[in-house]
Amino acid sequence: MRLVTIRLRNWKAFPALELNLQGISSERNVVIIEGSNGFGKTSLLEALVLGLYGREGVDLIGRAGGGSRADMGYDAFLERALHQGVRGHDSNASVELCFEGGDGQRFTIQRLWYFTAAGRHRRSDEEARIWQGPDDDLVPLPDGDDQFTEVRDLVARALLPARLAPFFFFDGEHLDRLAGVDLDQQVRLGLEHALGIPLLRRLGDDLKFYARDRRRQIKGMSGAELDDLAHAVEDLEAQRHQLTAALDELAQALIPLRKERDATVARIGALHGDSYASFKRLFEEREQCGRARDALQDRLRQTLSFDLALALAGADLRRAARAQLASDARIEQQEATRTISEERYREIVSAVGESGELEKAGVSPAQWSALEVRLRTIWSKVWGEGAAEEGQRMHVHLGEADRHLVDERLRTIETLGAEQIAGLAQEAEQADAAVSEVDRRIAAQRGIDETSQQLADRLGDIQVSVGDLEERTRILTRTLDAVQGELATKERALGKMRSQLDADAPLLARADRADAVGRAIAKLIERLFPLNLEAFASAITLAYRAMAHKDAVCEVRIDPTGAVALLDAEGHDLRSLDPSAGESQIFAFALMAAITGIAAPFPIILDTPLARLDPDHRERVLRYFSGLDRQIIFLSQPAELSGRYLELLRPKLSAVLELTHEQGRSAFQPALPLERISA
């Protein structure tokens, strides 16, 4: 791409400026823009940088400084850049740059900055426009901050990314930025930028952040809860296991006791001559009665959770609720009746009105109106609307069928609740009495003689032990029921959560993939730099040897840390000999040449590049840069590129443009370009 036109409005000393850089030949690649100090050369360089990169460009301009925040620097810089002649009222400044490439490709960017009467930059009003393609099509851009992101991307793609700009814009007044003491760092940064490593680093960081964020999302949503729930389920399972084991143990303990009881009963029976069967029956009866009593107690507990709980609300509330349900039913009925009655009344009135009978009977509309009022009253009386139920339905959550069900349930509670519980209690009492009766009969069998007394005592002890074990069994069974109920609920919740986690699996997989790609990028960065070092060092060596007049340096070597060594024929590092400023500048040029050589074909712009060089170096630098296959724009003092230097450039020269400053007019009179074709 070649820069062909620069248009400035209200920019620094230029109220309006159009520079055509095409000159006499588009084949030749060198343009010289001449101007004395203060005529606007550097203003032009700044316009190029700000025009291309806007806010991002401010870091590339040495003069912008003055504030720790880039934003402050940008605004302050622009406010200083506004042409003095337009201050004092609302105004704007603009920079427009037009580039042309092969195949008729064109790219034009225009930036506009608006200012208040006080000269303050109106940040939110800033605009950028881009025209692209052979027909200069206006590129549609989004509004707001997205606009500048899009512009940045377009400029990076079509021309040059901002990160590489320092190697294309050389400012002789700020030489130290490229050729200062931090040369090693510059080399490292330069190569990294040329290889796109900062972008890769940012991408790697973004991927890491993405993966972390996704994982945290999943953890926050269900990971910790899942752990808790899984632990709760484990605990409950352990409890169930313990309870089952304890119940087994009890069942095992009961077996010998029951056997012993049977044997004791048999011995007592034998002692008394009673048949074993009848005595055994007595004890079986005792057990049966006990079991019946226990079952009744369980039913009683069940009743507590259902009917008794509901019944506790009390008769008053139940009665009030049933009355209200009846009232709700009547209100609903009346509403329905009223709707039907109203519809019928309207039908009749409408039929009479349309029949023509009123006219025939000589009834006037006024008479009919009066008659209709009477008719309405009679209708209401006949259809019983007068005795309307007061108020609105209370239990609107119930439909007609539910209302009946609730009424029936409440009525059942009123009657059956009491009967059920009383019945249960009576049955339990009878069972208890039956147990006592059997105990009495067993006791009557005891004590006939000492042996039978001992046996009876032993039997009593066994019965107590069996009773204890059975009671413990019942308690444990109930606890087991509760644990199993809770376990089932928790297992359901856990299952639901696990399926949710399964649904999250793709998210986790994406996070893993992001991590994997991030690791691959880190490895790529690690290998990319050393991989290109040799080729890069060779390019710098070539450029350096072409521009430096001493042949002492045979090779420029760069180690993987970016440290630069200038090696002589024997392999000694000449940098340790403190190279002169001129040679530092030559190295900076060599670095620029190497980086621009592997970057986009964007023009190299050199602002007063020769000031600190001796004549031999000047010639070598001019020869080297003009020999490159890209546009070279020199911004120079009038004397800087004259005489033999101009002759040296002549075969490559496309245009020489002179910036002038008319002293006779105001201090900010435009510096008009005077095109002086160098034939």
């Binding site: 507590l304 959770s305 209200q324 209370m394 959550h397 409440l410 009492e429 308690i475």
Partner: protein, 149 residues
């Protein structure tokens, strides 16, 4: 918005944490297999008191939730409980959130009333049941049975 029985089936109900802990204690004392057992008794017990319950929640936080279908059952049981709660709150109109709050308040008040009853029954199951049956207008003589002995 009025109440919907279908919606209430899946609604979570809970009470203040201390009341919920007492609920668990009652579950063990009465040998009831589910948490909703004492909770229902408590809500029923509180509905038997004419004035509206109050619930102070500032310092305690909530206990564990019970789904509507468990706390009140389904079908006519659920409809019955909601009808009694609405009737008790009348003339106030209830929406779901207000009902949840009201249930929490009844549950809390009821469980403390039951605790007083339990102490008054000298921690005796039969005596406690007899007392509750009596409160539910069931003749006292019919429940002097030996449940839990």
């Amino acid at each position: 918005m009025s109440l919907s029985l279908i919606e209430l089936v899946r609604t979570d109900f809970r009470t203040a944490k201390p009341a919920d802990e007492l609920n668990s204690r009652f579950q063990r004392l009465l040998g009831l297999p589910h948490r909703y057992g004492p909770a229902r008794l408590a809500i029923g017990r509180s509905l038997g008191v004419a004035h509206a319950p109050k619930l102070e929640m500032s310092f305690t936080g909530y206990g564990k939730p019970i789904k509507g279908e468990n706390l009140f059952g389904t079908g006519s049981d659920l409809a019955c409980w909601i009808t009694l709660l609405v009737q008790h709150a009348a003339p106030e109109q209830l929406d779901r959130a207000r009902l949840q709050h009201l249930v929490a308040a009844h549950w809390s008040r009821g469980i403390y009333l039951l605790w007083d009853d339990w102490k008054a029954s000298l921690s005796d199951f039969d005596s406690f049941v007899a007392r509750q049956a009596e409160r539910a207008t069931i003749p006292k003589g019919n429940v002097r049975a030996s449940a839990g002995r």
